[in-house]
Amino acid sequence: MGKGKPFLEVLASAIHEDFRFPFLEIFAFLYALGTFVLASFTVSIYTQTATNEAVAYAVTTSLLSGSLIVFVLLIFKNVAYGLGSDLEKGIIQTYFSYPLRRRGILTAKLLSALGVSLLLFLGIQISALYILAPDIVLPQFSTIILTYAANLSYPLLISAIMLLMTLILRRGGIGLVVGIVLYVAMNIVSGIAFFVALATESPLMLQIISLISPSYALQYHYGGLSGVSELSSLTWNPTLSETLLYIGGSYVIVASLFVLGYIYFSRRLNL
């Protein structure tokens, strides 16, 4: 018997539970709403005269700002609530009676929780970009990919933390609360970091924040610190290679946390 079938069946079962009616329909609607209606075009105002890359970045950021929160809500629901309740209720225990390695079961659960959500998010976003700004999408595809990579890093970091908490505590409630707190806290912390950077005239705090959430590094790469020259002599305009380093570094952190989750699930998780 091949190893593929048990994996695909467990994945299908997990998708069936995570996206049962009406969740898929509601979230697809919210994604579309977030992309086409709640898009914020404020970012593009001061980049109107910028380079083609900066325009592509601005349009992409505008478009994803509304639906990124939908993606975050969906991974909160699937990772903390979905996996947490599967652990609490014993469904994972049932999966453990099937001829599939523990890591295969976790991969199936994560593909359902994150992969499907991500596909839905990117599918609608890229389609929207193609419909709304076809002249930007094709020539600046790498900028668009970079923008998504930078913006998705922090939600993925939160989901990795939620995964670890859910596995260790074997319930999703606390992981869910921590996820929400972390998501809200980043907006506050980034604001504080900005003012600390202005006050100390050192970009160190912004650099630290960018390592966790590289969308800030990308924002400063394309937009710089517009409008702060009167307040402070702080300048931070990371180059593309530096920005790529921040994005790469953040994904290393995310990947490390997921690997920790896999190690715990495969070797330590007692049910």
Binding site: K3, K5, E9, A12, S13, E17, R20, Q93, Y98, N270
Partner: protein, 307 residues
């Protein structure tokens, strides 16, 4: 060949020692009962056997292999947990067909196992719509899909009505007889275990207090027990207790179990009718060596505690 070999298993939850130096074996084709009070360590033992818990110390082998994250042995084991949970929003037949595909068996097997546990009428129902008893039956059907050589069941009949229990025990006997399936059954409902088990492990405070073939255990612990069936057990018990060669008396609604000093069995046979006549009780039968599983369990525990 031994399907399960557990040697000196130890498992603690913080400061609480759930299983302490527990050893047992389960042979091919046997039906072994794991009996003991709540908190004795039965579920922890089963979880270690199934590879859900890692023992702190000791070794467990199932089909000669370490069960932790071992996919090779999962195709040979059927599992029924005390609390069965399945993806709630899927239909029973559809989910079992999925399980058939997981194990690489024909999808028609799904309906067969539903029929085996009398659940064919619920084939179109969502799992969440099943009652506790039906869910338990579904869990059993789920465990039988791939015709495993070994079925491990923790309190398999806990949520079932008497008729369903009886039918299920028939299924156990049938699978054991026809397909040579071995069973490890944990239960606190002792009479039903005595119906199907050929071996028993009595677990108390995380240790095996007695383990062996039922016949051997009866011989070891239930010697000198005489069962008196009567219509007035409690009144007759009071009279029997006065006899100086009687070591222990226990009565229930149907009769009295009397343990006497060795060699005094005949005297009891003579005295009981006299005592019954005195209190106008009716004797329905007197039998030697017919202790119930409940009594066997109690006697084994008492004997161990005395040691």
């Amino acid at each position: 060949m031994s399907l399960i070999v557990a040697e000196n298993l130890v498992k603690s939850y913080g400061r609480v020692v759930a299983v302490e130096s527990l050893s047992l074996t389960l042979d091919e084709g046997s039906v072994t009962g794991l009996i003991g009070p709540n908190g004795a360590g039965k579920t922890t033992t089963i979880k270690m056997i199934l590879g859900l818990l890692k023992p702190d110390k000791g070794v467990v082998k199932v089909f000669g292999q370490n069960p932790w994250d071992n996919t090779a042995i999962r195709s040979m084991i059927g599992v029924v947990y005390e609390k069965a949970f399945f993806p709630a929003h899927q239909k029973t037949l559809e989910y079992l067909q999925r399980v058939c595909r997981i194990f690489g068996v024909s999808e028609s097997r799904a309906m067969e196992v539903l029929e085996l546990v009398n659940l064919q009428e619920a084939s179109d129902r969502q799992i969440k719509a099943l009652s506790a008893g039906m869910l338990q039956k579904f869990a059993i059907a789920h465990a039988l899909v791939h015709s495993p050589k070994l079925i491990v069941a923790d309190e398999m009949t806990a949520n079932l009505d008497p008729q369903a229990r009886s039918e299920l025990l028939d299924v156990v006997l049938q699978l054991n007889r026809d397909e040579k399936a071995a069973f490890l059954l944990s239960s606190h409902i002792l009479p039903e275990l005595s119906r199907v088990c050929d071996s028993v492990a009595i677990i108390n405070r995380g240790k095996v207090w007695a383990f062996g073939k039922l016949s051997e255990l009866y011989e070891k612990y239930a010697v000198g027990i005489i069962r008196v069936s009567t219509d007035s057990p409690y009144e007759l018990e009071a009279e029997i207790k006065k006899l100086n060669y009687v070591k222990e008396v226990n009565s229930d609604i149907r009769g009295i179990s009397v343990t006497v000093v060795e060699g005094k069995e005949d005297e009891l046979y003579e005295d009981v009718p006299k005592l019954a006549k005195k209190i106008k009780a009716k004797i329905l039968g007197i039998e030697t060596g017919s202790a119930s599983m409940q009594e066997l369990y109690r006697l084994a525990i008492t004997a161990k505690e005395r040691k």
